[in-house]
Symmetry: D2
Subunit: 142 residues, 4 copies
């Protein structure tokens, strides 16, 4: 992905701007944005893979949480991407929703990780995204 290149070349991220973002802050931000888009794709894919499994009946909850998580991750990735006129209040609220969605979805996927590889990979993507959102939240609060 081109996330880091895109964010570091933004006029508000450059050295001369008042709002210039530190190198470390930029890495936390870029990691979070990349994790959100990655997790959105993984959850969309996992919902579809579960739907194609023989025991789809047992996987209703997983599919529903996957779809919810995908939607929340996409919005969070876009909101975190934007640096112009950023509202830190909205960003923080959206990151909290996303960390919570990733936690719920990751825990459900984890339950089937033993016998369904797509749930195992998706649980990983959810965990990484949850941690990335929590990391960015801590930095905003600081």
């Amino acid at each position: 992905m081109h996330v880091r290149e895109m964010l570091t070349t933004h006029p508000h991220a450059q050295g001369q701007a008042l709002q210039a973002i530190s190198d470390e802050g930029m890495q936390t931000l870029a990691d979070c944005v990349a994790a959100c888009y990655d997790c959105a794709q993984a959850c969309t894919s996992c919902a579809d893979a579960c739907l194609g499994e023989q025991d789809v009946e047992m996987l209703r909850r997983c599919i529903a949480l996957n779809l919810m998580c995908a939607d929340v991750c996409l919005a969070t990735g876009a909101v975190a991407t934007r640096l112009t006129a950023r509202s830190e209040t909205v960003l923080a609220a959206q990151l909290r929703a996303c960390a919570e969605a990733c936690r719920a979805c990751g825990e459900e996927c984890e339950k089937h990780a033993g016998h369904m590889e797509h749930c195992k990979v998706c649980a990983s993507a959810c965990r990484e995204c949850q941690q990335a959102c929590e990391g960015l939240l801590r930095r905003i609060a600081a």
Copy 2:
């Protein structure tokens, strides 16, 4: 929109289900879902209208908040739509993010409502969506 028809025919909204939703609760939910999709369209449209205005330079903040609000509203509309295996924790967090995004965007649009009709209409859509999200939040908390 077919929002209310769709939600009331959902198996989890029907009388026999444990999770059956009261008539009043259903109206609050349907209003919120409809307001989210409406506000997403209005904000996408207002960002584009601002971009076409002569004094686009003065409207950067409005465009940025419009785009943020559109993304948050879409995710909230989809999350609120889903009743199967619903996570009330995630729904509540997402509603808070949405109410906050609509407040920020509506306040900005209000500033230009006097001389730009699209900002006036969009401020209305934001206010309705903020109130609808707050209404559903109160019901979930209750």
Copy 3:
């Protein structure tokens, strides 16, 4: 929805602009945008309702087509909403994808319309959206 109010107050839709859109063209456009957002919500809702049905195994195809249709409708609604620097080539291609997605999803929903009310309502929303996309396509081609 505020679709028509938003579109008619856009600077490019006003009388003095070169790109001014006729009243009739505006109605076709507003109908298409509204139908896209409506159908996106209906399909998201129908996928979730099918997922909550006892015979979810028989509904895999319906759920998959619903989810695909929701994604295509959302993109189409946003692309059709934007009038600034509009690419008619992309709009036309996106409208064709959307008409096709609505046709496929509507036909599948129709099969279950007899015993599942949500599929019946969703089939309606798909049909309306397909026709609205085809209507706008004809106008662009003209």
Copy 4:
């Protein structure tokens, strides 16, 4: 991103299934999905970076095309991700819309690539996504 891992563990991508996808076909598919999500993020970021530039007035067209391209890419990434009950007609139409959106947006970004690094990076992301969509289209047609 976890795209390839997610797609290869899908039940319909496994050896025993009738719909099993060849290794080469899987790589083409995974490349396209990853490119769509990457390009969606790059275009969202470029629109926001352009909005923060001093000469925003000169960048209206770039911002508008960026936003359109982001929406089309997201829908295409999700549609291409889903293998259950896939409609090749819709996928092909969506890939054509996406290749066209990436071409239009990439050409516009290229014009400013000389003095705005974010447009240069975004033009790259658009070009890669256009080629990935065209590659998958050729495979479907074959």
